[in-house]
Each structure stands twice: as C-alpha cells, then as structure tokens.
C-alpha cells in the first residue's frame, strides 16, 4: 500500500516538474490562437460583431467569450473556417446579426461634402483622404465596406456602391448540369 502511494506520488511529482519546466522553457508569447482566428476574419473592421474591430473579436472568440457566428462580412464560409479551426460545430448566423451583403465601397458625393473630417476619424483603415475644410474622398482600393463612415457624416453625402463584376473578377460558376443525376 505504502509503496503504491509512494510510486504514484513520485510519478506525479516528476510529471509535474516536467510540465512546470516546459511551461517556463517553452512559453509562447501572446496567444497564437488569436493570430490564427484573426487571419480568418475579413479585416473589414466594421464592428458588426459588437467588438471594436477584428482583433478584439478574435480575442473574444479565443477566450470563448464570443460566438463564431457574429461576422457578416466573413460570410458562412468564415464561420465554417472558424468552426474547423476551433473544432466546434458550424453555427448559422443568429437573429441579432445582420445578413452578409455583397461587397460595396463607400462613395462621397463631392458636391455635398463640407470637409468636416468626421468620416476620416471614423474610418478604421484610413481609407479616406482629406483634411479639415478640404475635399474628402474615399480611396476605393482600401475601402473595406464597413460603413462606419456613413453615420457620422452630418450632410449624408456618403453612400455605399456595390462593386460591379468585371472580366477580371468574374468567377466560373459551379457546374449545374451535374445536378441532374448526382448527389449534391
């Protein structure tokens, strides 16, 4: 009996020491899971998830505070990728999250803009060029379509324009004649 106890305690002590040593020696700075989650998120920085940007949302997901189905710009595919990464079940968008929309960029009507810089302060990726009392304009290539600039504008001069499909961005469709006899 005593030997059994001694052996078990001995093993526990040795393993504990090994684990403690490893925890110190092989400590990883930061939380790599957050990086991996952030890599999946679309970086729109729109805040629709309820967090001020994609990184805070990634941190919330990593700490299991937030659910994975709160990001409309990521679409269903984003949820699937997160589910795969975290080993969780896929969950469709909830009632309180907006449905995913087609990619759009903001557009400032230059006839109406008064140069107040409120939209520049709101843009999370600095995609608006301009300065106080100078014309403001959206840098379309950098705009993520987060719509955070639309509300602050006091003269409602910002509208969202959906991007048209060009020959460069056009995608081949999933083959349809296959559906007649096959499974999916």
């Amino acid at each position: 009996m005593l030997t059994a106890l001694l052996v078990m305690s001995g093993i526990a002590i040795v393993l504990g020491a090994v684990l403690g040593f490893s925890a110190v020696k092989f400590k990883v700075e930061g939380n790599p899971l957050v990086e991996k989650i952030d890599a999946i998120l679309p970086q729109t920085q729109c805040g629709q998830c309820g967090y001020p940007g994609c990184r805070p949302y990634a941190e919330a997901i990593a700490s299991r505070e937030a659910d994975i189905n709160r990001c409309p710009p990521g679409g269903e595919e984003g949820i699937r990728k997160l589910a795969d990464l975290l080993g969780m079940e896929f969950k469709p968008f909830g009632e309180d999250t907006a449905a995913p929309k087609a990619k759009a960029v903001a557009f400032i009507d230059e006839n109406v803009c008064i140069g107040c810089t409120l939209c520049i302060q709101a843009c999370p990726v600095d995609a608006i060029a301009g300065a106080a009392k100078q014309m403001h304009t959206i840098i379309a290539a950098e705009c993520t379509g987060c719509e955070l600039c639309v509300a602050p504008c006091p003269v409602n001069c910002i509208s969202m324009v959906t991007l048209p499909e060009t020959a460069q961005t056009w995608k081949w469709q999933y083959p349809v004649n296959d559906k007649v006899a096959s499974e999916k």
């Binding site: 952030d38 998120l41 679309p42 970086q43 729109t44 920085q45 940007g53 994609c54 006839n111 109406v112 008064i114 999370p124 990726v125 600095d126 995609a127 950098e142 993520t144 003269v155 499909e165 060009t166 020959a167 961005t169 056009w170 995608k171 081949w172 469709q173 999933y174 083959p175 004649n177 296959d178 007649v180 006899a181 096959s182 499974e183 999916k184």
Partner: protein
C-alpha cells in the same frame, strides 16, 4: 529521338473539311470592333477617340507597362466609338473596344521594313510590343516578354509549334502549306532574338503537305522539321517541349528556365510581316468550319464580327445553333454573332445539334481512372473533382490543381460525363478570388494597425507637448521671481550657487522667449492666408459653397421639423 508525354486522346480530327481548300482573303466587313484587351497582361490605353480618322495599321491603343501589347486599326476608316462592347470572354461581360467604320480604301499608314540585324535586341523587342505581336497559339502572351531573356539565361532549343492538335482547326496547316518561306523568315528573326543552339519545328504527322512545304523552305538552314505523332494535346507548350526535347518544364516556371523557348508558327509569321514588311498585327489566318456551306481558312482582319465572317464562308447551314471560338476541346461557346474576332481566335466552328450534341446528364464518379490514364499533366482529375465539388480548395491545390492545362482530355473520356474541366475552372477562379480577398484583408489589417499606432503616437506627442508647456510655464514663473538677480549677473559679489541658478534661469528664459517669438512668427505667416487677399474665383467658389450650406441647413432643418412632427 522523340519522347512521350503521359496520356493523350485521339478524337475524330475533322480536318479535311477545311484543310483542302486554299485560304482566301476575307472581304472588308461592315465594321470592325477592336477590343483593347486581346492579350494576357494589362489593358492597353486608347489613344484615339470617336470621330478620329485612322489609317490601316495606325496604333489605336498603346501598351500599358511591360506585360501589354499595342492594338492597331485593321483598316482605314473612322472611329465610331471607344466604348463597352461584347467581347469573347466566358463571362459574357463587355469590355472596352474601338469600333471602326471602314472607308473601303484600305489606306496604309506609313510603314517600312526594319533592319533588325542593325538594331539592338531590346529595341527590336520594343518594336514587337509596339506592333502588338502576341502569341497566336491561343494564349496571346505578349511575344516581346516571352523573348526577353536576361543575359544569365541561354536558350538551347527554339521550338516552333506547328502541331495544331485540336480537331477541326487547320489554320496553322494552311499557313505552313502556303507561306512556308515566310514562316522560315520569321523563324530566322526569332533565332536572332534568342540565339538558340538548335531550332526544332514540331508538326503532327496528319499534316504531310505542311511538313513537306516546311522541309523545302528550310533547306539550306539548320532548322529541323520534326514529325510528331498525332495525339491530343501534343500542341500544348509543355507537352510539345517534352516530346521534342525530353525536358519537363517544372511547375510554375517558364520554359526559359530549362533553356527552351516555344512559339507558334503563326507568331513567327506575324513577326516576319512586322520586321520584313513593317506591318503590325492586324489580321490573321482563321479556320471557319463546322456547319457552314464552304468550310475553309480566311485571312481575317482583327475585329471582324463572327456573323459576317461566317457569311463569307457561305453562311451557316440550317440547324446551326451557336459558335465555338477556338477548338472543340478548349474553345469558347458563344451565341452572339456580333462578337469580334480577336488575336486569339484561330478558328470559328459553327455548331449544330448534329455535330455537337448536348452532353448527357452527368452520373456520379465511379473511380474508373480513365481520366487519370489520359491526363497529360499526370494529375488525378477525379480527386481534384471531389475536392472542387466539396469546395476543399486547400486539398485541391495540394493535388496540383494549377498544373491543369484545361485540355479537356479527362472530360472527353469520362464514362459518367462529369464536366470535369468546369469543376477545375470553378475551383481555380474561387481560389483566385479568395487570394484577392486575403490580400485585401491583409492590407486592411495593416492599415488598421497603423492607424491605431498613429492615434497612439498622436496622443503621446500631445501629452509630451503638454508636459513641456507646463514645464515651460513653471520655469517662466520661477524666472520672473528671480528676475532682479539675473539683471545684476555681472556682479561677481553674488554667491556662486545663486549666480549659477540665475544663469540657468536666464538660459531657460531666453529659450522661452525664443519659443514665443517662433510662435508669433508662425501665426504671422499663417495669417497671410487671410480672406481679404483671395482671388475673385476663390471668392465665387466660397460663395457657392456657402449657398449650398444654407440650402442643406434648410433641408436639415426641414427634415428635423418633419421628424419632430412625426414623433
């Protein structure tokens, strides 16, 4: 000594329909629609506009950047518009085109042969770009880029692709039969540009007359005409290189890396027309075949509408239901006859239900591996198809999806009639779209993080400035209290510490004064932009803006009132 590539198929050739008639010059069509993008790379920039009169061979749009090639007027006439028009593209989306109404006179712009041996290679390559020479095998890669060899690379073998392996197409066949001597002249120019150790022309053995004509044209030169067995897709660049040289071009790399340069015989001919006649690329030989009265080859001006070209071939037979631009294995199906012929168009097949019956409905894959047996890229098409079907794009890339040349051999043999090539195209375009999104997302993340950094930095700078100001204010107070002491500084009777202190205070005070002076200066400088020294134009603009603001304020006011009333 010939080598083999894995797989390949033997579809019915259908070449005799159009290969036995001599080629003819297609008459001038009613209008020419010249797209600005007829090549791989950046779109050209138009240098004409509606209403301009142009001469035959005049540049309509210049190349934009290195990977781009200019576009020229196929005949003399008037530019009707530079606008969106339907172009041959699988999406069916329109693209910018220059539409020209021919004046019937076919007046050439001034043009002269080039003395290419006298000019440096770089200049000759620039001339190729300026003349719009692109690969006429179907991929339309700008030729000057293909032939740009940096000094470290050498070309051991120059391969000329005369294989023409796709069924129905006979344009290269007729070109070689009728204009072999000129093709060889073009080959000589290519040899000058790439300086190869050997030159091989690969021609499939179903073209005996072309082989004979080319052999004769090459007598006295050391260009070798090699007969290759007829097998689809021997005409694929990598496949032909393997057959002729035994080298396998590694994935994702240009043939130049293994010392081989490969061009189509029609491209060689076009280079000859440019260098020895000064003509830019404005026309090419095209096969019109299928369900038409007189299938044959035509010398066609780029931009000729497909319908008109088909009329020149005797018109479509009854029961025709569309066109294939290109060959039946890799071509593009279109129904709009208004589409123009472009540099890439080597063939127009008029379809009919008899010649091209619709495929039967697809059954599930039974893993019979017939597709694996025929794939020239030695891929596993059925695996790629499962991954594409389940949108498992990571696995698809692992199984080398991007090595697929979309030749269609797998589709051809599949007993379940699965549209394999369509799955691969779907997967490829989805992967590219995802990569684009990822790049955009990474850029957005960087900008966002930099923005946060910038805001932090601004906060810090503000805090520092505030701290400094406070410090300066405190010092000024202290200096004011100690002022009498500093005035009598020369008196050395003062105790040493006090003198030191007063000296320090004096220094601080002078710095403070300097700062105050600087600020005054800045204020004065900025004051110069005062409203009373504005130009009348600026004043007028400001008045306009003020008027608009007044309007807006009214509207906003009215809105607010309305909202209040509604509540």
């Amino acid at each position: 000594m010939l080598f083999h590539f894995h797989g390949g198929i033997h579809p019915d050739e259908h070449k005799l329909e159009s290969s036995e008639r001599p080629s003819a010059r297609a008459p001038l069509p009613s209008r020419l629609i010249v797209p600005l993008q007829q090549h791989i790379g950046a779109k050209t920039k138009a240098i004409v506009q509606a209403g301009d009169k142009v001469l035959k061979g005049q540049m309509l749009a210049r190349a934009d950047g290195m990977v781009s090639a200019a576009v020229h007027a196929p005949t003399s006439g008037t530019v009707l518009s530079v606008d969106l028009h339907a172009v041959p593209h699988p999406s069916g989306l329109p693209d910018l085109c220059v539409t020209i109404e021919p004046d019937g006179e076919e007046r050439w712009i001034e043009h002269a042969p080039l003395d290419y041996r006298a000019m440096p290679r770089a200049e000759l390559l620039a001339k190729l770009q300026g003349a719009g020479i692109v690969g006429l095998g179907g991929a339309t890669f700008p030729t000057h880029v293909k032939l740009s060899i940096n000094p470290a690379q050498t070309v051991e073998t120059l391969v000329l692709n005369g294989a023409e392996c796709e069924p129905w197409i006979t344009t290269d066949d007729r070109l070689m039969r009728e204009r072999a001597a000129e093709i060889v002249q073009g080959i000589e120019i290519l040899r000058y540009l790439v300086n190869p150790a050997e030159t091989l022309v690969g021609i499939e053995d179903n073209k005996p007359q072309a082989i004979a004509a080319m052999r004769q044209a090459c007598t006295g030169t050391d260009i070798q005409i090699i007969t290759v067995p007829t097998l689809y897709p021997t005409g694929g660049e990598k496949q032909l290189i393997k057959v002729l040289t035994g080298k396998e071009v590694p994935s994702g790399v240009r043939p130049l890396n293994v010392g081989v340069s490969c061009s189509n015989v029609a491209t060689a001919y076009a280079i000859h027309r440019l260098v020895n006649h000064g003509e830019p690329m404005i026309s090419r030989l095209i096969t019109v075949t299928g369900s038409v009265r007189t299938p044959q080859n035509f010398e066609v001006l780029i931009g000729t509408p497909v319908e008109e070209l088909v009329k020149f071939a005797g018109g479509a037979l009854p029961g025709s239901n569309g066109f294939i631009l290109g060959g039946p294995m890799m071509g593009l199906h279109v129904s709009n006859g208004q589409l123009p012929v472009v540099k890439a168009t080597n063939c127009i097949i008029v379809e009919s239900a008899q010649l091209f019956p619709p495929p039967p409905a697809a059954m599930p894959c039974i893993r019979c591996t017939r597709c694996v047996d025929v794939c020239p890229a030695e891929l596993q098409p059925q695996e790629l198809h499962w991954f594409a079907k389940s949108t498992n794009f990571g696995k698809a890339q692992e199984y080398n999806l991007f090595d697929c040349i979309e030749c269609g051999a797998c589709n051809y043999v599949c007993p379940s009639h699965i549209p394999l090539v369509q799955y691969f195209r779907f997967a490829k375009s989805e992967i590219w779209a995802r990569e684009r999104e990822k790049r955009a997302a990474d850029a957005a993340r960087e900008r966002h993080e930099f923005r946060l950094l910038r805001i932090e930095r601004e906060k810090q700078e503000k805090a520092e400035k505030l701290a400094q100001k406070e410090k300066a204010a405190l010092a000024a107070k202290a200096a004011a209290a100690v002022a009498p002491a500093t005035d009598s500084a020369p008196a050395a009777v003062q105790p040493a510490p006090a003198a030191a202190e007063s000296a320090a205070d004096g220094a601080t005070q002078s710095r403070i004064q300097a700062a105050i002076d600087r600020a005054k200066e800045q204020a004065a400088a900025s004051k110069e932009k005062d409203t009373d020294i504005l130009t009348p134009q600026q004043l007028a603009e400001m008045a306009e803006i003020e008027a608009r603001r007044a309007d807006i304020r009214e509207i906003a006011h009215a809105d607010a009132k309305q909202q209040q009333e509604q509540q």
